[in-house]
């Protein structure tokens, strides 16, 4: 989530593409944990792994 320079309003909301939590641009903790995968932002490597596992499982089930 990105605030305007004056801090008075939100310019954009950034959420983890997997679990949906807000990722705060100003948070050092959030910035350290976040990952980019296939053009999407994730809050952590754990969410990237979860997404990949789910995709693989669902692809296998579809076959």
């Amino acid at each position: 989530m990105k605030f305007s320079l004056n801090g008075l309003y939100i310019e954009s909301y950034t959420k983890c593409a997997n679990c949906g939590v807000l990722i705060y641009e100003a948070s050092a903790e959030d910035s350290a944990r976040k990952k980019v995968h296939d053009g999407s932002i994730y809050c952590s490597q754990e969410c990237v792994d979860w997404k990949l596992d789910r995709d693989a499982r669902r692809a296998k089930a579809a076959v």
Binding site: M1, I10, K15, C16, C19, G20, L22, Y24, W50
Partner: protein, 565 residues
């Protein structure tokens, strides 16, 4: 771990939370607080973790940790001073829905912040396009009322007058809102005052240590409960009948529950993209609903705090009906989609723990809201009226009859109070015959409430569900009865749906219908689904249902082979 001290402290804190609720109930102005008890009071540590809560509204209990933590991301702890009270309702930053206002006050001991007293309450009138806050036809957040980021409504013990003026200029009932907001502040004032005494009695270090133990204890007990459930991936989905904008389009709530040892992960991927209308849930709702479902499936004696939530994770994809993106509407997500999510999780877990789940409940709070200028007093009135539904049958008992949906735990407003406070006459309020799904254990029944308008005009809106798609039965039980909202205009003798009478897209979600003096409105609430094969139902229970009027003789013959003695 000192169990004796831990139990005494836990009981003291829960008791304090109950007292906070009683203060709120007794000092508030609106029926939604002093009759329905649509609020929750709790205590949090300085990280925002919930350390104690009273058994008021489950939607708010599960939502509390994310709410407080989200606010603390914007107002750092070192900027919070003694006597401050922080207010927040923003659905996109940890909130549940626009009417849900969260207040929290820091607890300082010897100049050090130890935690927070928290009160969350549903404010009945929040501005926006419809009186009462539930605009069934809203297509963006700005129509749903005033959105409040985390702000200090009190600074160092003094009212922040500018915030008050802004709040009260944007609602239809400022006098009543003022009273309700004060009641919420009174609750956190009490929490802060009494918790400070508890800290002084036991000492800061002892409380810190004991609270840490308490959260660990809850976590361990929850993990032990979850470990007893067979591992696996359990999937289920349910359908929401409309969003109020496109009446022909349905929406899917899909869950995969991953049960692994002592933890549970609820994955909502596969749920529908967010709707144009106000059925979207926020992340706070999706999280709270998962917690709520797990609490319903596990030992109710586990102390309710953030510890028991640690083994539960939620995956709520953004831009869907379980995690709405700005600026889509969301007011119905907390009341309609939350119970639907809980039911979907219970449905998923039915094969694993059939004795701990139930068939579908009505899963709506009916949310009939209205407002207008009282002809007698000249004052604007507004009401958020919630109604009760039938719950699903269980493996050991019938569903509850006429109880608020699974995330509310609220009371319905008594007829006498309703008639005194608002210009309606309640002509009848009666359980619906044959509305509980048949089964070895039948579903609970909903009811019908018929009201006569006594004012020149009352502007009504609604955000409900289950008018078309009935609550499902489980393990051979049949569907529960659907709900309805009907109007009989003055001078007519037939009942019409809102679509027929006013040309609305949906019968269950609409905004700003003008009900006139002499018009009648009938609210029919859905029943719950049945559990188990009807043929297995105890004949004595069938006979009792017929005798008591829950089931007609014809339905008893059809479902149970009933023969009159």
């Amino acid at each position: 771990m000192d169990f004796v001290t831990m139990n005494i402290l836990e009981s003291s804190m829960v008791s304090l939370c109950k007292e906070m609720g009683i203060v709120l109930m007794k000092t508030s102005y609106s029926t939604i607080f002093n009759e329905a008890l649509d609020f929750t009071c709790g205590l949090a540590d300085m990280n925002g973790d919930m350390i104690a809560v009273a058994d008021y509204c489950p939607a708010q209990i599960g939502g509390m940790p994310l709410l407080v933590k989200s606010c603390l991301k914007e107002i750092p702890i070192d900027e919070i001073e003694e006597g401050d009270v922080i207010l927040h309702n923003d659905p996109y930053r940890g909130g549940l829905h626009t009417p849900e206002h969260t207040f929290f006050k820091p607890i300082f001991v010897d100049g050090e912040i130890m935690g927070f007293a928290v009160a969350i309450g549903h404010i009945a009138e929040v501005g926006g396009m419809a009186p009462g806050g539930f605009c069934g036809e809203a297509t963006e957040i700005f129509q749903e009322g005033l959105r409040i980021p985390p702000v200090k409504i009190k600074k160092r013990g003094k009212d922040n007058i500018e915030v008050w003026k802004l709040l009260l200029a944007n609602v239809r009932t400022p006098r009543v809102n003022y009273g309700d907001l004060r009641a919420l502040i009174a609750a956190v004032d009490l929490g802060e005052k009494q918790m400070t005494q508890i800290y002084k009695k036991y000492g800061k270090e002892k409380i810190k240590e004991t609270v840490n133990d308490l959260l660990l204890y809850s976590e361990r007990r929850m993990r032990a409960e979850l470990e007893a459930i067979p591992d696996g991936i359990y999937a289920f989905s349910d359908t929401i009948e409309s969003d109020g904008i496109d009446a022909e389009r349905t929406y899917t709530v899909a869950v995969e529950v991953h049960k692994r040892g002592g933890e549970i992960i609820v994955d909502y991927h596969g749920s529908s993209p967010q709707a144009s209308g106000p059925i979207n849930a926020t992340l706070g709702v999706a999280t709270s609903a998962a917690y709520n479902a797990v609490l319903h499936m596990t030992d109710p004696t586990i102390p309710r705090n953030s510890g028991c939530f640690r083994p539960i994770r939620v995956m709520a994809p953004p831009g869907t009906i379980v995690n709405v993106d700005f600026p889509a509407p969301e007011v119905g997500g907390n009341t309609e989609t939350h119970p639907r999510i809980v039911g979907t999780i219970l449905g998923a877990m039915a094969p694993a723990i059939p004795n701990r789940v139930m068939a579908a409940e009505g899963a709506t709070h009916c949310n009939f809201v209205f407002g207008g200028v009282d002809a007698d007093t000249g004052e604007y009135f507004a009401c958020y009226d919630l109604e009760a539904v039938g719950w699903g049958g269980r493996a050991f008992a019938d569903g509850n009859d006429g109880v608020d949906s699974i995330n509310g735990n609220c009371r319905i407003t008594p007829v006498e109070v309703y008639e005194t406070r608002f210009p309606w006459r309640i002509e009848s309020l009666a359980f619906n015959v044959d509305a509980g799904g048949a089964g070895e254990f039948r579903g609970g029944v909903g009811y019908s409430k018929q009201m006569l308008c006594l004012n020149d005009e009352i502007i009504c809106s609604q955000m409900t569900d289950r008018h078309l798609l009935a609550p499902w039965g489980l393990n051979g039980g049949t569907e529960g009865g659907v709900g309805a909202t009907l109007v009989m205009k003055n001078g007519r003798e037939d009942w019409q749906t809102m679509r027929e009478a006013y040309g609305k897209a949906s019968t269950s979600r609409y905004s700003n219908v003008s009900i006139r003096r002499g018009d009648r409105v009938r609210l029919v609430t859905p029943g719950g689904g049945g559990y188990g094969e009807p043929a297995k139902r105890d004949p004595a229970a069938v006979a009792e249902d017929v005798r008591e009027g829950y089931v007609s003789k014809a339905a008893a013959q059809k479902h149970y082979g009933y023969q009159e003695a």
